[in-house]
Symmetry: none
Subunit: 222 residues, 4 copies
DNA sequence: AATGAATGAGACTTCATTCAT
DNA sequence: CATGAATGAAGTCTCATTCAT
C-alpha cells in the first residue's frame, strides 16, 4: 500500500545521482512523487510560475525524466487536475447525500470543503489555482473548460433543492446561487491560510444561514 | 480633461496614428496610457503572464521606452497597485462613513465594491490579481506586503463596530471577520464576470444579513 | 550599395559584446549577414544539422537576437529559399529566352546553372539541400511544397519546346523530361565540389546531346 | 529461410505480439529487423532526423535494447552502409562483366541500378542518403570516407574501358567521368520517387548514348 | 536479451533589460 | 522621448546513452 504523501510539503530533494537506472527504483513511487509535488507547487505558485525543473527536482529527478511520465507540463497540470476532481467530487457527493434540505446540504458542503483542506491542503488550494490559471493561460483553459462547466452546474443543483423545500423563494434563486458561488470561491482562495481562519469562515456562514450571527443593532442610526 | 480610459478594454494595438506624429505627444498622456493598459493587462493575466512588450505595444510604444517611465516591470506593477489603493480606499472610507452600524457599513462596503467594479472594472479585478500574484511571485510579495497588512486590519475595524453596537456577540467576532473577508475575496474573484452575477451575489449577502434570504424548510427531514 | 557577401565562406565571428545596443550598427547589415550565413550553413549541412546558435554566432550575434529578424528557424529557412528562387528564376528565364530550340535552351540552362554555381556557390547548393530537407523534415515540406511544384513544371515546359521543334519525338517526351530532371538534380548535388568537375559534367551533357561524346566501339563484342 | 523484409515499408509500430512472448525470439531475427528498419528509416529521413527510438520501436524493441546489437547510432548507420556496399557491388560487378564496351557496361550499370531500386527500394535510396549525410555530419564522413573513395574509382574504371575501345576520345575522358557520375547521382536521388519515372530516366540516358533521343531541329533559329 | 528509469547535454524559443542613436 | 538592436538567463522539450533489474 502506497502511503498518501499529498500532505507533505513540496520537498526540494535534489540528490545527485549517476547516469543509468538508479537502484531500487519503483516507477510507481516516482510517479506518485511527481504528482504530489506538482499538485503542491501548482497550488502554491500556479501554472506559469512553476518550472519543470522545480517539479523534477522536488521529485528527486531531472527535468528530462519528467517526460517519462507526462507528455508536457500542460499534460502534468491537467492530470493533476483530473486526480483532484475525482477526490473532491466523491467527497462533495457524499456531503450532499447526507441531508435533504438546502441548509443541510450547503452546511455539509462547507464542512466537506473544510475537511478536504485539512486532509489534503494542496489539493484544495490547487482548485483555487486552477480557476486563476484558466483565466491567465489560454492553453490551460482549453484543456479544462469542460470540467469547470460541470462545477458551475453543481451550485445550481444545490440551490434547486432549497427552492423545492421552500427554504428559498423562487425569485431569490439567482441571489442564492451567486452567494453560494461567492462563498465557495472565497473559501477556496483562503484555504491555504491557517485552518483556524478557514474554520471561522465556515462557522460564520453556517451561523449566518441560521440567522444567529448578526442581529439588529441596539439603536439604528442610519 | 483626460477621459478615463480605465473602462476601455486593454487595447492591444497602437491606435492608428493619423496625420503623422501627433502634436500633443505629451509625456503625461503616454504615462497615463501605460498605467491604464498595465492595470488592465495585469488584472486579466497577472504579473507573470504579462510581458513588457504586451504593455508597451498596448500603450503604443516599444518596450524599451517603458523604461523612461518605470524602473522595471515590478516597479510598474507596484505603481499600478499604489494607484489602486488610493482609489479604492477613498471610496471605501466614504462608504464606511455613511452608516454607524455593522450591517449598514458592511452593506455600504459591498455597494462600494460593486460600484467600483462598474466604474473601473479592471481596477477591481486587479485587486484580485494582486492577492494571487503575491502568493506566486516572492518579489511582488516583498514589495506589497505592507499594503496587504493594512487591508486586513480594515476588516477587523468594521467588525469591531458591530461588536460595539451589539450586532455581533464578542465571541463571534472571529467568525464575522472571517466571513467578511471570505465574501469580499469571493466578490473580488468574480468581479470580472458579468456585473449581473456580481449584483446578485451582493444582494444575496445583504438579504442574508437581514435574515430574509433563507428560511427553515417546510418540513425538516435530516 | 551593399556588397553581395553571398560568396564569402560562412564566417564564425563570435565577438564578445556587452549588453545594450552596439555602436554603429546597421540593422540592414546584420540582416544581410544573417541571411548570407544561413544560406551558406543550410547549404552545407541542411536544415536539421544547423543550429540557431551556428547561424547567430556566424553572423556575429547571439541566438536570441535572431528573433528580431525572423520568427523561427523554419521561417529563416523559408526566407532564404524565397530569396534563392528569385535569383535563380531570373537567370533561368533569361537563359531560356536566348534560344528557340530545345538543345539551345537546355544548353543555356546548364550554362546558367554553372554560372550560378560560380557566382553564388552557396545559393546553388542550397537548392540541392532544399530537396533533401523537404524529404526529411515535414515542416519544411509543408512550407515549400508550392515552390517545388512550380519547379517541376519548368522541366516539362522546356521539353515541350523540343517536341514542337521536332527535336524530340512526342513518344520520347517522358524520357527527355526524366533525363533533364535527373541531370539537373545530379548537377545540383555535385555543385559544391570543384567547379572544374561541374564544368566537365555540363560539357559532357552538351556534347552528348550533339552526338559527339560517345561513338560506336571499333569492334562490337557483346 | 528468412524472408527479405527490405521491401516492406518501415513499420513504425511493434507488431501486435499475440500469444505472449514469441517462443522464437531469436537474437538473429531481431538483429535482422533492426537493420531492415534502420536502412529504411535512414534512407527516408537521413542520419540526423532518425532517432534511436524510431528505429527501436519500428523493430519492436526499446531503444535501450538497441545497444545489445550496436555500440551507438553511428555504428548502426555504418553497419547498414557496409551491408549495402556488399549488395550493391556484387550486382554492379555482375553488370560490368556482361559487356566489353563502354556503352554496354554503362547501360548494364543503369539497368542494375534500376533493378536494385525495384528489388530493394530502401537500399538504393539509402546510398543517396549517405552522400548527403557525409556532407552534413562530420562523424559520418569520418567513418565512411574510405568507402566513398572506392566508389569514385569505379566510375573512372568504366570510362577507361570506353577509351580503350575507342568509344571515347582520350581528351573527353574527364567529361564522360563527370557525366557518368552526375547521372548516377541524379538517379540515386530520384529513386525514391515512382519507378516509372526512374525507368524513363534510364531509358532516356540509354537512348541518348545511342544518339536516338534528340535530333537537330527542323529549322535552326538561334 | 530486454526493459524502462534516469541523466545530461543541447536544441529552440521567450523575455526583462540595456543602451547607442 | 523614443526606437530597436542586442544580450543573457531561463524555460520547455528532445535525445543518445547508461544501467539496475
Amino acid at each position: 500500500m502506497r502511503k498518501p504523501t499529498a500532505d507533505a510539503p513540496c520537498d526540494d530533494t535534489a540528490t545527485g545521482r549517476r547516469r543509468g537506472r538508479p537502484p531500487a527504483t519503483d516507477s510507481a513511487d516516482t510517479r506518485q512523487k511527481i504528482f504530489d509535488v506538482a499538485r503542491c507547487l501548482f497550488a502554491e505558485r500556479g501554472y506559469g510560475a512553476v518550472t519543470n525543473k522545480d517539479v523534477a527536482s522536488a521529485a528527486g529527478i531531472t527535468s528530462g525524466a519528467l517526460y517519462h511520465y507526462v507528455e508536457s507540463k500542460l499534460d502534468l497540470y491537467v492530470q493533476v487536475d483530473v486526480d483532484m476532481q475525482r477526490t473532491i467530487y466523491r467527497r462533495f457527493q457524499e456531503a450532499l447525500a447526507s441531508s435533504d434540505t438546502f441548509i443541510g446540504k450547503f452546511s455539509a458542503l462547507l464542512e466537506a470543503a473544510h475537511q478536504l483542506g485539512v486532509d489534503h491542503p494542496f489539493a484544495a488550494s490547487f482548485v483555487g489555482a486552477v480557476r486563476t490559471d484558466m483565466r491567465r493561460h489560454p492553453e490551460v483553459a482549453e484543456r479544462l473548460s469542460k470540467y469547470s462547466e460541470e462545477r458551475e452546474q453543481f451550485f445550481v443543483d444545490v440551490v434547486d433543492v432549497g427552492v423545492a423545500t421552500g427554504e428559498i423563494a423562487p425569485a431569490d434563486k439567482p441571489l442564492v446561487v451567486a452567494f453560494v458561488r461567492t462563498v465557495l470561491i472565497g473559501l477556496t482562495e483562503t484555504i491555504s491560510e491557517t485552518p483556524q481562519q478557514h474554520r471561522h469562515a465556515i462557522d460564520g456562514v453556517t451561523k449566518l444561514l441560521r440567522g444567529t450571527l448578526v442581529t439588529a443593532p441596539r439603536h439604528e442610526t442610519a
